[in-house]
Every structure is written in C-alpha cells, then in structure tokens.
C-alpha cells in the first residue's frame, strides 16, 4: 500500500501521485505548538506587562507551556516516514527550507521556558531543600525529593532579598525575549504552510499572522479550561480536608478567587479572538474578490465540500457561540468552561481546515480528495496517522503536567517573584 492510500478518497481527476500526505499529525503539530506559544504569551502578560490580575494563572500557564513543549515535537516524529533520521534537521539544516529552522527555534524556546521557570521557582526550590535537609528521619520519598530539589537548585542557594530581586529581573527579561520567540515559533509554523506556492489554499502572507493569533487564542483557552478543572478538583479536596482543618481556605474563598481570574483572562481571550477572526475574514474576502485561477476550486472546497467544518464547526461553534458566551454579563465558571472548550475545538477545526482543506483539491484543479481519518488502527501507519495517534498526542501534555507539578506545584507557592 502506498503511503496515503489508506485514507485518501479521490473524486474526478486527481494526479496519480496525489494523496493526503499531510494528515492528522500535521493538524496536531500547529495545534500543539499553538497551545505552547499561547500559554507562554499568557504568562508573559503578567511577567512583562505587569497585568497583576493574571498573577495566579501566569505561573500555571508557564508550567503548562513547559509540559506542552515536548509534545509539540511528537506529531512531527509520528508523521515522518523516517523518524530515526529526524535529527538530520539539526545535523545538515538546509536553510532555504522553513522546516530547517525548527530545531534551532524550538531549542532556543525550550531553553527560555526552562530558565524562566527556574527563576520563578528558585525560592521555592531552595526553601524545599532547606526544609528537607533540616528534617530528621527522612522517608525514601523525601530523600528522593531532596535529591531532585538539590540537583535543580544547581547550587544557587542564596535567597536574600537582593538575590530574589535579581531573579525577578531575570524572569522579566526572559519573558520579554520569550514573547517574540514564542511568536516566531508559531509564526514560523504558519510560514511552513503560507510559503508553499504549489498550494492555492495555503499560499498567503497572512498565514503566519493568522497562526500566531489563533495560537494565542487556543493557548489562553486551554489555560483557562485547565485552570478551572484544577480549581474544581482543589475545591473538592479542600472541602473534604477542611472538615478536620478549619484553617484552610474555604470553598467560597477559592470560588471567588477563581471567577476573578477567569473573568480577567477571558477578556484577553476575547481580544485575541477578534484579532484572529478579523484576519481570517480578510483572507477569505480577499480570495473571493481577487478570484484568481484557483478560486473556482477553492470556492467549491470552502463553500460546498467543507462547509460544515468551516462555517458550522470552526466559525459558528468555535467562534460565534463562545464569543457570545464570554461577552454575556455575569460570567459563570460553567459558562467560561464551555466557551473555552468550544474555542479549543474551533481552533482545532481551523488547523484541520487549513491542513486537510489545503489537500482537499487536486493540484490539477480538476478533482477533489477526501480524508478518511483512520479510527481503529490496523497497522503502525494507521495508528500513527489516525485517531489513536492524535489522542496519544493530546493526552501526553496532561500526563507531563501532572508529573511536573509533583515537583513544581503551581498553587500555594511563594515564588521569588
């Protein structure tokens, strides 16, 4: 079986070698990098621009962006025909290719996120080391924790006022550098598509900008949604514990803090949503108005073949409905959760409509291709480039987030900042 044949349906005239070569994992790739970039930008709003209301969610989204980072690479490896050679991109980067810069941009960004987290958590790490050291008769788990904290403290044990002040400045600088790098990381994912002159749907200089805006939208939405879920779980735990310990914050206190953070963050979400949708509409109108050679077939894909995916799922349920939900007065937690989940779905559909939609028509402009997502895998290929592969990619960041927060908790920490 030829690669792509398992999930491609052809209609009318399609060149013999044409298949949907870029499938679900290439939809996941910009979706996941978008989440990373968006989460980071959200945390930077606090660290760089001093948006105090976002303090609580800032640390949360920073750690989440760390957990998402390795996952941004996963879909690419799952997609490559020769994943063991992926490292070649770092060994012989061919710089006329947009993909060649991936290794460099990605590593730079990873280092920025990791060092920013280190500075944010330095005080916590040092305090944990001191506390655990002072303890007599450590359990094996505590010994392990001491070891981990000692190693990640990297021996920098100074937590004097002056040292903490330096940390704070370092965080500011790193977050400042991080914003353009995060935008570059994702804008460049847009460039990978936007620069393919052979593809009529992809080729537009707006693509990188559209990608950045939707990235920020999805990142913020995911942070809000995850924040709400974690807070709900904490409320349950506190409610159960406070039966024995009346000093803990009450459920009401947590709830008011939660809705405050969510309302504030939702405002930024709406702002970026307006920006993203404006650009997407501009692109669509421009295509229809200029109506170049490819417009005939692109129009058929947009308004006929993919109508439900584009106008119902992406714009309707993914943009209009959450927009109304978020702008209606007296935002509730439940409404915010529903809206953010819809936004996430909308951004996912946008990635789908770009990546799969771009391959929904033949380069001959005389036929169509349809992507049948393999649901149940019957080979390694249909696992990797099917529903199961996509789900693996979706689940991983949450597992990583759980693991990271065992060492670097995101709630109730006195940070250096």
């Amino acid at each position: 079986m030829v690669h792509g044949e398992a999930w491609t349906l052809k209609e009318f005239f399609v060149y013999p070698n044409e298949y949907i070569y870029w499938s679900i994992q290439i939809v996941m790739y910009p979706f996941m990098t978008g989440l990373v970039a968006g989460a980071f930008v959200l945390s930077s709003l606090y660290h760089v621009f001093g948006v105090k209301q976002l303090k609580d969610i800032a640390r949360f989204s920073l750690v989440f962006s760390l957990a998402l980072l390795p996952v941004a690479m996963m879909p690419l490896l799952l997609h490559l025909q020769q994943p063991q050679r992926g490292i070649n991109v770092m060994m012989t980067p061919h710089f006329t290719s947009a993909i060649a810069a991936f290794g460099i941009v990605f590593t730079t960004y990873g280092m920025i996120v990791a060092s920013e987290i280190w500075f944010v958590y330095r005080r916590f790490i040092v305090e944990s080391v001191l506390e655990l050291r002072a303890k007599d008769g450590r359990s094996p788990v505590e010994s392990l924790r001491l070891l981990v904290y000692s190693v990640i403290s990297m021996g920098a044990m100074d937590i004097s006022e002056a040292a903490l002040h330096k940390d704070e400045r370092a965080v500011g600088i790193l977050a400042g550098i991080g914003i353009p790098v995060a935008c570059f990381l994702h804008g460049y994912a847009g460039f990978i598509f936007g620069s393919v002159k052979a593809n009529a749907l992809w080729m537009t200089p707006l693509m990188p900008v559209i990608f950045i805006c939707s990235a920020v939208v999805s990142g913020i939405a995911l942070c809000i949604a995850t924040y709400i879920v974690t807070m709900e779980i904490r409320k349950l735990i506190f409610a159960w514990r406070s039966k024995n310990d009346p000093d803990l914050p009450s459920t009401e206190e947590l709830k008011s803090a939660e809705i405050h953070v969510v309302t504030m963050t939702a405002k930024y979400l709406v702002m970026f949503m307006i920006l993203a949708i404006t650009l997407e509409m501009l692109d669509l109108i421009f295509r229809g108005y200029t109506a170049v050679k490819s417009w005939d077939i692109v129009r058929k894909v947009i308004y006929e073949k993919d109508f439900t995916k584009i106008f119902i799922l992406q714009y309707g349920l993914g943009n209009v409905v959450p927009f109304i939900l978020l702008l209606m007065p007296r935002l509730t937690i439940r409404r915010a959760l529903l809206a953010t989940l819809l936004v996430l779905m909308g951004v996912f559909m946008m990635r789908w409509n770009v990546v799969i939609g771009g391959q929904a028509f033949s380069a001959s402009f005389a036929g169509f291709m349809e992507y049948k997502l393999p649901l149940w895998p019957d080979s390694l290929e249909t696992f990797k480039e099917g529903l199961m592969g996509a789900l693996t990619v979706i689940v991983t960041p949450f597992v990583l987030f759980y693991l990271v927060t065992r060492i670097l908790p995101v709630f109730g920490v006195k940070d250096s900042h």
Binding site: V2, H3, F12, Q82, N88, T92, S97, K197
Partner: protein, 261 residues
C-alpha cells in the same frame, strides 16, 4: 580548582561550539569557483514531449516502473499519461487510470469516486494524450523546501533524491506544483523521476524514451546547439506546464492545449 561560575562559562562555550552546525560554514571549494567563472558544465538535460504523437499506449509507464523499480502495481508512478476528452458542449474530462500504464482501452472516463463516465463517440469534439514526468525545474521548489538537503540539483540540471538522508517529511511532495513526487512504497522516502540519471549519464536514453514507439518522448542537451531536441526547442513553438509558478520547467511540450492541467 575551577569555581562554579567558571565551570558554567566554559560549559556554555563548549556546548555552543558543539551545537554550531558544520553546515553553517562554507568550505572553500576551488571547483565551485571555477564553475562560477566558466558557467556550469557542458550539459543541461531537457525533455521534449510531442503530444500530437502520443497514442496513450502506456509503454513508457511500464518501462519506467520496471527500470526504476517502482512496484508495478503500486498506485504511484514516476511518469504517467493523461487522457483529455473535450465534448461538444465544451466540457473536458480527464483521466489516467493506473497512470495510463495499461493504455486506454475503454471509451469510459475514470472519474474515481464518481465511477466511469461514458461519452458517446459523436459527442467528442477533441481527444488527446499528454505524458507527464518531472520537469527538472531550473528553480526547483522541492529542493528549496527540503529541510535536510536530501534532494538536490546536479550540475546538468537533474533533481535527485538521496535515499539515505531523506527524513520523509513530505514537504517536497507538497511543494511540487506538478505532483510528480510520492513516497516510495519500499524505501519510504521521497521518490521522483530523475530522467533515468543512471542511464543518461552513461550515454543512454531514458527508459521511457526507448520504450516510446512513436518518438513522442525525446531527451536532449540544451547546451549542445546541434542536438536535434535543442534545435526543435529553439526553432519551434513549444510550451511548458504551469509557468506561473516560476519554477522554470525544462520539459517542453509540442501541441499543448489550454485544457491541459
């Protein structure tokens, strides 16, 4: 004893030095300089397709598959033949079942999911065949987008793929406006027509040129003014496919019609 600050500094320098890819340095190469001064080589391979001579027998596709070890029954091919049928009501129907490998033995047009479309003989206003292959572009987008440099252009203009270095990302497949590239079903790397480079570099013709009974396919050297193919390209009205992409294709067509995609 090295203190921590110094250790960190030195580690950073060492790591920095290690990650600097060697490719970032351009090694001075005397042959490159000579080539730039004297112009590149004495050969520029080009192809000439005379669509008026093609009968759609598919011998070229068969020969290519066998010669280049592209699995015979796999639904991918380095070269293929398209059939165009224009009807009296102005519609155009195109097909290329199995890349035209087995010839066009039925009047019905293969519309894939839409099934076979039957056209009555009296409704046909025009019908012709167009063989397709890699255009060995002078400005190849596939070479531009390869992230690892596994696909490259030789001095005589042919674009090749290094099977040992290709990572299989598919960017070149996406970048080609002519859709001549695909993943090789056995080697799982990018695959394409290379004008039978192993043959032409030894003075032979390509497998498809040798297999064509009607001289619809010819290969020649553009830098040789006495080459019969070059003479035709220079003196007759030839055309290329999808010029608007700026790829500068080097497969020239005689008798190309506006319907051709």
């Amino acid at each position: 004893m090295m203190n921590r600050r110094e250790f960190c500094k030195k580690t950073m320098i060492a790591v920095g030095g290690l990650v600097l890819p060697l490719a970032a340095f351009e090694v001075f190469d005397p042959s490159t300089l000579r080539a730039e001064k004297e112009g590149r080589g004495k050969t520029r391979w080009a192809f000439l397709v005379d669509t008026r001579k093609c009968v759609g027998c598919g011998f070229c596709v068969k020969a290519c598959k066998v010669e280049n070890e592209v699995p015979y029954d796999a639904n991918v091919t380095r070269t293929w033949v398209e059939r165009y049928v224009t009807t009296t009501d102005g519609k155009t129907y195109i097909d290329s079942p199995k890349g035209g490998r087995d010839g066009f033995t039925t009047m019905k047009i293969d519309q894939n999911l839409e099934g076979m479309h039957e056209i009555k003989a009296e409704e046909i206003s025009r019908a012709f065949f167009v063989p397709k292959l890699c255009n060995q572009c002078d400005n190849p987008p596939c070479v531009q987008v390869c992230p690892v440099g596994a696909t490259y252009q030789t001095e005589d203009g042919v674009v090749l793929v290094d099977r040992t270095w290709c990572i299989g990302c598919g960017y070149c497949i996406m970048g080609c406006p002519y859709s001549v590239r695909f993943f090789h079903p056995v080697y799982h790397v990018a695959e394409k027509c290379n004008f039978c480079y192993h043959r032409i570099s030894k003075g032979m013709k390509t497998a498809c040129v040798d297999a064509c009974p009607f001289e619809a396919r010819r290969i020649g050297n553009l830098k040789d003014p006495d080459d019969p193919v070059t003479k035709i390209i220079m003196t007759e009205r030839v055309n290329v496919l999808k010029e608007e992409f700026g790829t500068k294709p080097q497969v020239f067509y005689l008798g190309l019609s506006k319907e051709v995609k």
